[in-house]
Symmetry: D4
Subunit: 168 residues, 8 copies
């Protein structure tokens, strides 16, 4: 990560790491420089606000924020920057992530958060969506996205073949 | 409100006023000096953080915060002060306040918000709970609370009498 | 709309127009050329797929899709393009938009949709988020976004003043 | 499966196989020729649309589609064919299949999907319902269905006897 | 309705008529002879069981059953016949039809009900799905279904044109 | 069980036995003769209807019915008898028993089911409630109920003492 | 109501009267002497406890309790008496009665409440269920219940006839 | 615990101890004398009412009450005292604590309960919130709270450092 990070990944707690790594994997796959850190909207609001306010100056172009329970992290950051913020609701309470989903997606008019699905699928998609945003101004990246899609489709087809072989 | 406010009432939008006035009515009834203002966690985060950080110095002892949708307001304030924060979830989206309730109550360990019920009942109870907090160190106020309770009980009894008269 | 549209707004039914106009208003406000049309994932899948497949060639850089009930529209489009797709769940069934929200946001890993809140707040935020995406490669637009935010904050402050004057 | 398939079973991912096999077991039991494959509404939309569009020509009379999360598969297929489509919501996300259920069942007016219960019970019933559809024009098959029901009733009665023996 | 009915429409209460008429309209449109009556699983179980048991003999090939609250009607009928039963959950209690949906769709393995969406959209789709079932053995009817689909698509396109004219 | 049963316990499937045994234990404890059998509303409707219709003649005075998923069993029985029917929703599907609860409790006006809590707590309470019903005409039994309550209270007090001893 | 009441109807607030009157109507219809009053678990706990503790001595045999929001009333009474308690959850908050339903029905093992459906249907059924309890020791009353059921069935049949006449 | 307890911790069952200990740990950490006992709203209502009524006289200033299912405990206590009552909903039924949350938080106007999050996070926060209430009249305690917050922030920062070291 010698290059300046274009995407910042934030999570509210170190227990969110196994989920948020899915976003990191996608960015690595596309060779997008990124940074990843822990900062809580509630336990370290100043650190989080600093991160959000300085992100643009540091060259960050998209922020991904994952949190559980009353997941305010993505909205908190969105209030402090005009960079696009992608939210990942994490299933970290007895309510199966419904609390995190509603806290992330139901933002009032004026300050958007782009919510992904709950958990690992959402974190992976947050990574892909960040690439999609960056690719709106980077044709080469956009071509790579298209290859990624084709590769994904191929995998489904191969699984279909395997199933066919299996059931005869 | 010549006296220095002991309770600060915040709401995320002016459309929350009809709900949050229920809290104000209770405080007036108990002669608790209070202040009431509008500040959004997402649209005016700095103003809101300032309010929260300065509250203690200004003599505020309890904060009541009401918001709808992804209701981060109470949690946002709780992150910036160690004063007790009471949250009122407001029914302001198609989800009937379930989003506001979960965003208010499901705070992660470390930064509590005392959540009340959704809507007017919750705002009224936020006012009463603020009085209860203040009365832990104010015996006279505690006596008034007890009278308030008795008065409330009397009203139920009168309604019961009226019903009895009605149904014979 | 003489200029080539940069944003495409789709909705599943003409009854979604009062909601989706909120997105259009934001884009007009930022002078972003856009197109807006009706196409259903279920009733006109070919038309919708055509729209999605040709969008990039026609110069579209972001797509906003709003639908109710089992809201597949945003996901359907996301499957046919690598442009970023923003989904707006619409409250159009007895379930208050919970069905549309889950159908929009719970996308499986690989094909992201950026979900906004249910209804008008979500449509407005979809417009703003589209501007945020475009602004990642357009500094002037980014400056306008910052002004928009300040204006929004000012409005909250003015409402706060008005409330203060009112309650004395 | 030398005979031409009358029922097509689709699933969005190979991880859905343990659930969807319940449908296959029922069809085998009734000697209904069927085919079973993997195709995703989002990762392989073209493959899925091809499957749906060609199904009728290939002799398919009923389609069963199972998917999890924002389960668009059954609706996607229903939009591409006028054959009856039976949807099986699969419990594949932290929301316990509620997302898949609402995405499958809440279809807008005009393009029906016949939703079954979440998970294995639903997949089994999808198989039975396909047989019921086919039996509307096949008296012999209808008689077999009646036997199947009687067999099922007998099993319950035997369990009741066993319980009686057990508790004396 | 001189011809022998092929589809039986049942509803639990006369208050369900405005919803269930949507199914009747579709059947009329396709010239499918049908009968429509009121019978409750709980208030007239014998009448309902009689209806279900005699349906096949009377020439009925598909049954549509709509009910609200703890909507047992479709399942009750499905237990008494091997004809395909389509269930329409009706929004008739404070829970917005969620109770009727779960009572209709979550059938245990062995006795399927094909659930449609809650309310009018579901009733309309029940009518269409009944036609789809009948058309699996009636090519002419299948052709009419395809025309119906095209007509539906045309209506969407016309609304799109109208919108385009409107927004210039 | 030489004596004629006063309470009939029904369950939809043998997999419900571990839950429904809680009701049986209570009845044994109070020496109430009961019978317990398996009968499904959907797989053995005739057997179930027979059970319900003959119950009164056989001397049954209260019926307890437990089922999962779209739990129609209690309502089905209530439609066939005027004896009091107690319903126990069982957590047997991915929806955690919410489906069984709503299917059991949301009965339409005219045919009541007395719903207990989901699962073992509900089954235990179904047993106790059956005793309470019988005790309205059996003073001795009523006295035993009061002892049972006192015993229960004593157990709580003993646990409290133990905790006190433990934490010093 | 010169006769000694056999059923006591309680409600938490006078605003619950339009719902709870449905229970009263049924009792009047069956000539069951009853009393009806207002008493809150939270605002008048002593009055409520007195009511519950004295009910048996006063000749009450069944208690019906209706409340909204965090509806503790039925459980509160059930804790103070061994008479059967029937709970009616009332739709009195933005959550459509889901809060009242769960607060009423999810009683822990040991102290049962017999929950009815939310709102008027539930109140009506509470009245009928009280009659069913009383009829377990009153054959004449049981006969009247059977007539009531037949009357109810007749009404459904008449509505069915009317519908038939209407649609020809 | 030689000193007179300032905080009373109650739980409905000994199975709630692992959750409620989180509140006790916080109070120990702040050297707040407390007492902890088991008392059920339903199984030992008299004992619970006694506890609540005598709390103030015994010097208790804040009460914390944790319960699961239809969690009436906090509301029951709040009805018997004017001391501030903090409720902890416990995940003790198949509904994942949603029942306990709604039963705790949705208190009607007049008798507030300050609800925390479901489970251990909520119990920990109940302890902190009790300290916050006490600190409104105890400056030294308030200073300790601020240190606690700083310590908490430091821990997040250290975890962030560790993550940075790890990912390089």
């Amino acid at each position: 990560m010698a290059e300046k990070a274009l995407v910042g990944i934030l999570m509210g707690s170190d227990s969110d790491l196994p989920v948020m790594e899915e976003a990191a994997k996608v960015l690595k796959n596309f060779n997008i420089p990124f940074e990843m850190t822990i900062s809580s909207a509630h336990r370290t609001p100043h650190r989080t606000a600093q991160f959000a306010r300085n992100a643009e100056k540091r060259g960050i172009r998209v922020i991904i924020a994952g949190a559980g329970s009353a997941a305010h992290l993505a909205g908190f950051i969105a209030a402090e920057t005009t960079l696009p913020v992608i939210g990942v609701p994490i299933d970290a309470s007895p309510l199966n992530g419904l609390d995190a989903l509603l806290s992330t997606v139901q933002m009032p008019g004026g300050v958007p958060v782009a919510s992904m699905a709950i958990g690992k699928a959402g974190a992976k998609n947050a990574g892909i969506f960040a690439v999609q945003i960056l690719s709106t101004a980077d044709e080469k990246l956009h071509e790579e996205l298209k290859k990624y899609r084709k590769e994904m489709a191929k995998q489904v087809e191969e699984k279909a073949k395997k199933l066919k072989a299996q059931i005869g």
